[in-house]
């Protein structure tokens, strides 16, 4: 009997071991170091620019690798390279700049500080506040390629038809939203979900949900007025369904656009080109941009942020460090190159040129550039890159969005969001102040 038990346990172990392999996830090793060649990882969109640089530098040996823009891809690959101690890319593009916090951390030790590699005069040319995402403990670890300041997008035709004014303050925004919900049921004036809710409303309000003070310190305090005012703003709008919890990138969101139900939508700059027309099917000549409404007691309309990319230089680049830094500098600051890129350039001079075409775009009901430029220059400080970005989003959904969905008390939900954020920050190696 004992023998049978031992045999069955061994068989169970063997079966479980074999079966456990079936559900596991494989991961390939990182790329090789290319024997002196500059290894560059970029997404599809950045590929032509990298190839252009390669062509302009025939003496430089470069290898350009296309990477997917998926969140987590770069840290995954770099952690494998760290494990094998080879295969790090010399330059990498991050579609999700929050990952700079991971890659610059002591555990990863991948991102090289750029303070001595990129002159201050060049860094000063970036839109004010745009490099804050890249800055930890006073050191700059990445250069922003593009930024995603939020503006108040609205349907100019619907506004005119309903006889409404574009709100300048959040109080006006709330009144207009409630009026629209009553007079034109089904109309929405905003979306509250994941980063779109947290980045737009809480980000623009300056609520410290992810205020990084260094690579190991983060300030989170959802009890302050900058946070509770967001809950108070959205509470009645949520009750009247004037804000939706459907994710704007969900195909289901198109029903609002097709049905003429999007009156206003505070959203990032890139929504103008990539969401209203292609995804929401709002016809041309209707969408316009206004600055974000102003919060009580403030005179400046601060913008939140949702999106944008960044370039990093590897701390393992060795002799190729200068070349890597030069490539990153060129990719982010070349005016002609940046003027052709799809989203709002982080470099001020490039953004100006980029806006020339945008101003003439017949899709918009009026020139969106004044509002976009104002938003880019009014990024709310305190919205840092954190290592718990994914938890930041999912904890927001688990608490605040859940309360919006269930007609709960939004102010109360901030307490549970605070708890979850603190736990997430602690697990990621931050001390919460």
């Amino acid at each position: 009997m004992k023998r049978w038990r031992a045999a069955s346990l061994a068989a169970a172990a063997a079966a479980a071991l074999v079966l456990s392999g079936c559900g596991g996830t494989g991961g390939g090793g990182g790329s090789g170091d290319g024997k002196g060649e500059l290894l560059v990882w970029v997404d599809n969109t950045r590929m032509p620019a990298a190839q252009q640089y390669e062509k302009a530098h025939p003496d430089l040996r470069m290898r350009i690798v296309t990477i997917p823009p998926d969140a987590g891809y770069v840290p995954t690959k770099v952690s494998l390279a760290n494990r094998t101690k080879s295969g790090w890319p010399d330059v990498v593009f991050l579609a999700n700049p929050a990952e700079a916090a991971t890659l610059a951390s002591e555990k990863f030790g991948y991102a090289a500080p750029l303070d001595d590699l990129v002159p201050k005069t060049v860094r000063d040319g970036f839109t004010p506040g745009s490099l804050e995402t890249c800055t930890f403990g006073g050191k700059v670890y990445c250069l922003r390629n593009d930024i995603a300041p939020t503006v108040l997008w609205y349907d100019a035709k619907l506004m005119k038809r309903y006889g409404y004014q574009v709100p300048k303050t959040w109080a006006e925004y709330q009144r207009t939203g409630l009026k629209a919900a009553e007079e034109h049921p089904g109309t929405i004036v905003g979306a509250v979900n994941g980063k779109y809710g947290a980045g737009i409303y809480f980000g623009s309000s300056g609520c410290p949900t992810r205020d990084t003070r260094s690579l190991t310190e983060v300030h989170i305090d959802l009890g302050g007025p900058n946070c509770t005012r967001v809950a108070d703003l959205l509470q009645p709008l949520a009750r009247e369904k004037a804000v939706t919890t459907v994710l704007p990138i969900d195909p289901g969101f198109a029903k609002f656009g097709k049905g003429d139900k999007i009156l206003m939508l505070p959203a990032p700059a890139w929504f103008g080109d990539f969401m209203f027309g292609p995804a929401f099917k709002v016809p041309g000549g209707r969408v316009a941009a206004a600055p974000m409404p102003t919060w009580p007691g403030e005179s400046k309309p601060y913008a939140g942020q949702v999106g944008g990319g960044a370039f990093l230089v590897s701390a393992h680049a060795g002799a190729r460090t200068e070349q890597a830094a030069d490539l990153v500098r060129w990719m982010t600051t070349d005016v002609n190159l940046q003027a052709r890129q799809p989203t709002y350039p982080a470099f001020t001079a490039a953004a100006k040129k980029w806006g020339e075409a945008k101003s003439k775009d017949p899709y918009y009901a009026s020139d969106p550039m004044p509002a976009l430029t104002a938003a880019a220059n009014a990024l709310r400080p305190g919205f840092g890159a954190v290592r718990f970005e994914a938890d930041w989003q999912s904890s927001f959904n688990d608490t605040f969005v859940k309360a919006v969905d269930s007609d709960g008390n939004l102010r109360d939900s901030l307490d549970s969001w605070q708890d979850k954020l603190e736990a997430a920050a602690g697990t990621s190696g931050y001390t919460v102040g």
């Binding site: 479980a16 071991l17 074999v18 559900g23 980063k195 289901g252």
Partner: protein, 314 residues
């Protein structure tokens, strides 16, 4: 518990002792090694060696012994409780439904042989032909009312968008339905094959004795295919407790709706890749392996999966 055993053919039984034993032994041993050797090799290289390396990694950080630090950190992680609860709920819902679906459909097919049965086998198998990430992508469309062929049904269930379908508690329901659809077909084919291999004389004897279809199924067929059912259970428990691909791929359709640490396996993956902490990843993976071994051992002993006719008779 009494179980039915396959009666041996008298011819074979009588002929067996007459075989020259000495000459057959080396051939038998060779055959055993040829059959078991590759498996043993693969088990050692891809099962035992990685598990041993994981054990080493969970206790040694950068060449120095770290004690149980990684293990303690894993068990104190605030995400582990949620992830374990998600997986346990998923298993509690999915495993019984899967087993019930597999057993009922396989027995029904076996009880009503014919052309329709062959066609139905294919129908049942088809959803299972699309597996892994492809299945998750397919299901992403299925749960999006705007693209789903079942959109009226989804609207009836108050699912207005993929965000609705994949957020909160509804994710478990989606994963359960998806898991049954993806896995049931293959197991039905396996179980149907096992049922077809049952000795006809035993089934005929049951019929002659007046056993109803239900009694035949419950008291004759089921005991004879219990090892297959046990295998379905162990395999399904292993894959279910390691659920990873489905929530990961579904989360790409509605970013931010599904936590990247929704399941235990995902948490281990996040340790290794996002946090760069292989020690914690190894510790959690080994903890999961221990749970898998324990579950497999319980099923094996309860069903006497590896019991042979000779051990039964002891």
């Amino acid at each position: 518990m009494r179980t039915l055993t396959t009666p041996r053919s008298p011819t074979v039984a009588a002929a067996a002792p007459a075989m020259p034993r000495r000459r057959r032994r080396p051939a038998r041993t060779a055959a055993v090694w040829i059959l078991v050797g590759p498996y043993t090799l693969f088990l050692a290289v891809f099962g035992l060696a990685p598990a041993g390396y994981a054990l080493w990694t969970s206790f040694v950080d950068d060449g120095s012994f770290s004690g149980g630090r990684d293990w303690a950190a894993v068990f104190h992680d605030y995400r582990l409780g949620d992830a374990a609860a998600h997986v346990a709920t998923y298993l509690l819902l999915w495993l019984p439904i899967l087993l019930l679906a597999v057993l009922s459909l396989a027995f029904t097919l076996h009880a009503r042989p014919g052309r329709t049965t062959s066609a139905l086998q294919l129908v049942y198998y088809l959803p299972g032909a699309v597996t892994g990430s492809a299945a998750a992508l397919l299901w992403l469309f299925m749960v999006s009312p705007d693209s789903s062929p079942f959109s009226p049904l989804l609207r009836l269930m108050d699912v207005k968008s993929a965000t609705d379908a994949l957020s909160g508690g509804s994710l478990i329901a989606v994963l359960t339905v998806m898991g049954v659809a993806v896995h049931a077909g293959g197991w039905i084919v396996v179980l149907y094959g096992a049922l077809n291999a049952l000795p006809k004389d035993v089934l005929e004897a049951a019929q002659v004795d007046g056993a109803s279809a239900w009694r035949t199924m419950w008291h004759v067929k089921l005991p004879m295919v219990r090892t297959y059912v046990a295998f379905v259970l162990i395999s399904s428990f292993a894959s279910g407790s390691q659920v990873f691909v489905e929530p990961t791929v579904l989360s790409t359709g509605a970013p931010g709706q599904i936590s990247p640490t929704w399941s235990v396996n995902q948490l281990a993956y996040v340790y290794a890749t996002q946090d760069g902490d292989f020690g914690k990843a190894a510790a959690l993976s080994l903890a999961m392996l221990a749970v898998g071994v324990l579950a497999a051992w319980i099923v094996i002993t309860r069903t006497r999966m590896y019991a042979t006719d000779s051990s039964d008779s002891r």
